[in-house]
């Protein structure tokens, strides 16, 4: 957001952002943009505190909205992940207990979900502008296939039988992957009325994917979402 940065500073005061500032304030805040998912008790406490201190809570990015790629861990047996450190229990007990990757909305009320990995700058600006003028952000709920059609792309699923997640994926990215000849991987998470079982069937019957391949496709950016419950396994 390099072009908007200076104008933005005229309209918002950044009160807490340790990664960019040395002087930070404890709130209360008009709006909190929270990145990342929750996986430790410390993070959960922090999230609850932030909810209390913020008028509007924005889940910023896929990790906060759905768990994103790190949520694949939830299907890995703890014994396998513990092997990442020679003496897992030592750190585990000394630091803090590590739990399942969980999106913010499972613990607190989330006012705005700013999806995407990463969220597109136009969407971030839409949310910021909406907050400033006090209206509901106009985030799209329909499928990314609409954006793809508006770009006059050839549908990779229907014409080339390639397994794109578009039909169940929320718009917002501008259909950038099919535009450069790559199938949609679904990094904006499920659209409002996603029909995942139907797409999963298409993947197997039309594209020749195995059951296991289908599970992995749905278990990538939003496997924890209830709309993908049956398909992510």
């Amino acid at each position: 957001m390099e072009e908007e940065f200076l104008d933005l500073l005229k309209n918002v005061e950044i009160s807490y952002f340790v990664m960019a500032k040395r002087e930070n304030h404890e709130g209360p805040y008009d709006a909190a943009f929270i990145e990342g998912s929750v996986s430790t008790p410390r993070e959960l406490n922090e999230l609850r505190e932030l909810r209390i201190r913020s008028k509007t809570l924005v889940a910023f990015g896929d990790c906060a909205c759905s768990g994103c790629v790190p949520s694949i861990l939830n299907w890995i047996p703890p014994a396998v992940s513990a092997r990442v450190y020679e003496n897992f229990s030592l750190i585990h007990s000394k630091k803090e207990s590590f739990q399942r990757v969980t999106p913010l909305r499972d613990f607190v009320e989330v006012d705005v979900e700013l999806r995407g990995c990463p969220p597109r700058r136009e969407l971030i600006l839409e949310v910021l502008k909406s907050l400033l003028i006090g209206r509901k952000p106009g985030l799209k709920k329909y499928s990314v296939c609409m954006e793809c059609k508006m770009k006059e792309n050839v549908g990779l699923l229907t014409s080339e039988k390639r397994p794109g997640m578009g039909p169940v994926t929320q718009a917002g990215c501008g259909a950038i992957c099919p535009t450069v000849g790559r199938v949609c991987e679904g990094c904006y998470g499920p659209m409002s009325d996603a029909n995942a079982p139907s797409l999963a069937r298409e993947f197997m019957e039309l594209c020749g994917l195995s059951k296991d391949d289908v599970v992995q496709k749905f278990r990538k950016y939003a496997g924890l979402d209830s709309k993908f419950e049956g398909e992510a396994g």
Binding site: E2, F5, A20, C68, V69, K94, G181, R182
Partner: protein, 427 residues
Amino acid sequence: MSLEKIVKVDYVPRVEGQGELKIKVRGDMAEVEFVIYEPPRFFEAFLIGRKFNEIHELTSRICGICPVSHQLAALKAVENAMKVEVSDLTLSLRKLLHMGSHIQSHVLNLYLLAAPDYLGYESIIPMAKDRLEVVKRALRLKKLGNDLVELIGGRAIHPVSTVVGGFTEIPSKRAFDSMKSRLMEAREDAVETVRFVSKFNYPNFERRCEHVALTKDGEYAINDGRLRSTEGLDIREEEYRARIKEEQVDYSWAKHSTVVGRGSYLVGPLARVNLNFKSMTDLTKSVADEVGFKPLCYNPFKNLVARALEVLNLVDTSVEVISNLNLRNERVTEREFKPKEGEGYAIVEAPRGVLYHAYGFDGEGRVKWADIAPPTCQNARNIEEDLKAFVPKIAKMNTGDIALRSEMLVRAYDPCISCSVHAQLTS
């Protein structure tokens, strides 16, 4: 008897990720712990079972600042395992893509994370009021890096056209021509960046330690080469684990790397410039001379000068790479290659230093094991060693000033804490 001072920074500001500094200083002795408490994400665990053609897409998510480095390291390791040859055009485009991402990351560190300390600001925000021209220059260069990555990869963060074997789309000659003229214009901003950063009042501190970087004859290596050091290390990707030891410490989620038989080492811009200065462009070398930078430099704070010189070298070199592109339409799709059983290894230079990826695959191309060593794991022990030597020299200061200067040393390394908190699977 000298007084003991305890310095604590609970959440080190202006670095990527969440870390804590604990320092105890008494006379000439300092105890230092760089505690990384951000929880690990276990990438090496959940990659197991995933397919070879999505590993770069998944590992990209290790980091929002250096996703390109993780993508390229993963792609190279997969191609190494599957014996996939890529074209010269792919190699050139990957180099440009990576150069764009180094510009993005370096400009962010220099102007947004590090500069406020030396100019007396808490952040870039008040700086924008008093030093508008400086901030505008930063924004122009950052946008240039973003746009270069977006042009080649289809998106400025987590590019999408990168796949095993090449790119799904090759940008047009017209798009490259217009990027080339922007890069040529940006040389001036890049030169000014070196001058700006060189004027900072750096602590007079040197500590000789091993500097490690990729090196290659005839070019300033970022995507391939041999891993060499100022103390004689000279290895290929496959030998990394035999020569670099990684160990767990009980106070931090980041593992610590050491060179077997020697000790901690430094990776990143200063190591690269020290080892590869002769491969920098003439313009870069002349500006280095103008600002009085000479390798070998063992002042870790001067990582900033090295980083600024790299920005200039990146801008200058990318003009040349674009001029020599042999553009043709060679699109690759994500399912072009048949998987093979095997093991693959790769080392690239992420903006903050050496990045190692290695994988084992079964006959269906599914990951059997994964091993990733990000630069901040490699720098973690060295940062502590630097602080142990540096803090006693400033022990007379009040604790607030000791904390600030210690943070400045940490920020000079541009650590990426989120990247650092997951190391390899032990068998």
